[in-house]
Symmetry: C2
Subunit: 121 residues, 2 copies
DNA sequence: ATAGGGTTTGAACCTAGGTTGAAGGTTAGG
DNA sequence: CCTAACCTTCAACCTAGGTTCAAACCCTAT
């Protein structure tokens, strides 16, 4: 498959695929006699996996480090669980921070509403 | 006060203050006869306010747009409440998204744990 | 007078995740 | 054969919020 075809199939842009290759997130593509990149269909799944992982909060750097090791065979279940657990903790921390922020905003609002009630400002 | 003094007092770097001035977040400073920036003590409070607002999730662009109008007199209570309410909604949306993300991660983890239990992989 | 610290400017650099453009080679259809 | 739509590379640009550097100027103490 040519880059445009696979980009279409996976729902990403061609520039993004080239960018991933340059950054080492995906392996360099095989080339046809004309120099065009030639992809196996498998790559569609990988591109979707990358999007999913990003949606779960993994950075491209993290995704790449997993990809590197999963070249011949996939990473172990235990390893994957460890990565996911770490990410869940990070998301938990993010939620806690956001909730704290929300509390501060709310208390500021109610403070302002009180002072507004006193003097019609 | 010179830039280093006020930076120290407010707990920010000098480069950050110059950056704020360049971006229009704070007004251009008065200059002494030697060309050095000369700040009133008031600016300490403003710098702290900026940090607080950032901590509440306001971008510098948003902060600047408030600052611009509050030159002569501060913005009204009602206006401030409106801004804060908008930001609280954004934080709410962020929390909801993060919780959804966490749910997806958790379900992936428990799926993996099931398949791990079946075959010691 | 000289060393050290502080200050000035502008420009370049940084992370993250890409997009956009220029200049050129290729391929398919009519 | 010509044109449109692909593909190639490399480099520059983008947001956000700054930091770092270079070259020069200023001030104070010894």
């Amino acid at each position: 498959m040519k880059i445009g075809e696979i980009a279409n199939a996976a729902g990403v842009t061609t520039s993004r695929i080239r960018f991933y290759e340059k950054r080492g997130i995906i392996a360099p593509a095989a080339r046809g006699p004309n120099g065009y990149r030639d992809y196996p269909e498998d790559l569609i799944a990988l591109l979707r996996f990358i999007e999913q992982a990003q949606g779960l909060g993994f950075t491209l750097r993290e995704i790449a480090s997993v990809e590197v090791r999963s070249g011949p065979h996939p990473i172990s279940c235990a390893e994957a669980i460890g990565l996911l657990a770490g990410k869940r903790d990070a998301v938990d921390a993010l939620i806690a921070e956001a909730e704290e922020r929300k509390r501060r905003i709310d208390s500021l609002i109610s403070e302002l509403q009180k002072s507004q009630a006193k003097s019609e400002n």
